[in-house]
Symmetry: C2
Subunit: 180 residues, 2 copies
DNA sequence: AATTTATGTCAGTCATGTTGACATATCTTG
DNA sequence: CAAGATATGTCAACATGACTGACATAAATT
C-alpha cells in the first residue's frame, strides 16, 4: 500500500450489486460525482430565482409538495421533507403570511390543517418548475424514449422504499403517475 | 374547493424543449420530484455514516474532491464547491488537524497549498463511496447497458458547462462534446 | 374524564453558508 | 529592486435552516 489507494480501499461493502456490464466491486466515482454536479446545478436554477422573493430552498420544497399534493397535512409534509416541526414552522408561517399557501381545517378531523397553494403560490411554483423543466428538457433531448425511461427507472430505484411517506406511497404505490 | 387551480398556473416558460415523446409544453413534475427524493436518499447514506466521525456533508464533499483530484489547489476547491473561503476554511482546517488531508507546498508556485488525502482520509472517503455505490448498483442492476449509458448522459447533460471549473474540465474536457 | 393526537410555539444550539476586512508569503512586472 | 497582484489564511459579524426539548391548545379517541 502506497499512500494513495482508491480502487480497493478499505471498508468496501460491494457484494450487493454486480451489474450487467460486469463492473462489480468497483466504486462508482463517476456517477457519484455526476449526481453532485447535476443536483447542484439543478437546484441552482431555482435558488437564483428564489432570492428575488426572499425565499430559500426550504420554501421551494414546501411550495412544491403542497402544490403537487393539495390538502397535504402538516404531519405529511414533515415526513416528506424529513425536517422538524420547528424548521417547517418557520417557512410555513412565512408562506402563509405572504399568501402563497392557505390552510383549511380538516373535514373529518378538525385538528388537521390541510395545506393548499394559492394562485400566487401556484404561479411561483410553476415558474420554478419551468426553469428546472427547461434544464431537464435540454438534458433529455438527445436521449431516445427507452433511454428516458431508463433515467426515470434509475431515479426511482435510487429512492428508499422501506419507510414510504404519503407522497412516496402515491409515487410508488400506484406505480403510475400521481397526476395527469 | 373551486378556488384552487394548479394545472394551468401562470408563468409557464415552456417552449424550450420538445422531446421525442412529444410532451413539449409540459412541466416535468415527475423528474423534478424523483431528483429530490433520489438525491435526498443518496446523500443520506453518507450523512448517517459521517455522524460517527463528527463530520457533515461539507467535510464529505471536500474529502471526495481532494481524493479524486489529488493535488487540488484551495482555489480550485472553492470553484468546485461554490462556497466561500471562510466556509471552506473551517472544514478544511478540521480535516487537516485530524489528519484526513495533508497540504504540500506547490513546486512551481510556493504560495499554493496542494491538497492530498491521507490513508486515513482515503479510508473514510472509500467507505462513504461504498455506501453510495451500493445504492447505485442496486438502482442500475435491472437497467441494460444502453439504459445505463442514457443515465450517465442525462446526468452529464444536466450540468452547466458555461463556467467549467478545473474538475468539470477534467470530466468534460477530454470527452466528446464540450458544448456541442 | 383522561389520554392521545395534530398542530403551534418558545428558547437555545449547531452546522454551514455569507460579507468584508486584513495579514502574510510569494510570484510577476515595471 | 520596488510595487503590485495572487494564493492562502484568519478575524468578526451575521443569516439560514437544521436540531432538541419543553410546553400549550384544540380536538379526537378511549
Amino acid at each position: 500500500m502506497t499512500d494513495i489507494n482508491f480502487s480497493t480501499a478499505a471498508g468496501d461493502p460491494d457484494s450487493k450489486g454486480s451489474d450487467a456490464a460486469g463492473r462489480a466491486n468497483e466504486l462508482r466515482w463517476d456517477i457519484i460525482e455526476l449526481l453532485f454536479f447535476a443536483y447542484r446545478d439543478f437546484v441552482g436554477d431555482a435558488d437564483h430565482e428564489l432570492e428575488a422573493f426572499g425565499f430559500g430552498r426550504a420554501h421551494h420544497r414546501v411550495m412544491h409538495f403542497v402544490h403537487r399534493y393539495p390538502g397535504l397535512k402538516v404531519a405529511d409534509l414533515l415526513d416528506v421533507l424529513r425536517i422538524t416541526k420547528q424548521s417547517l414552522g418557520r417557512v410555513l408561517k412565512q408562506l402563509l403570511d405572504e399568501g402563497y399557501i392557505v390552510q383549511k381545517t380538516g373535514n373529518n378531523d378538525r385538528r388537521q390543517r390541510l395545506l393548499y397553494a394559492t394562485p400566487k403560490g401556484e404561479t411561483l411554483v410553476a415558474k420554478l418548475a419551468g426553469l428546472q423543466t427547461d434544464r431537464i428538457n435540454r438534458a433529455v433531448q438527445e436521449i431516445d424514449p427507452a433511454g428516458q425511461e431508463a433515467v426515470r427507472q434509475f431515479l426511482r430505484a435510487m429512492i428508499d422504499r422501506d419507510d414510504p411517506d404519503k407522497v412516496l406511497e402515491t409515487i410508488f404505490g400506484s406505480s403510475k403517475k400521481p397526476r395527469e
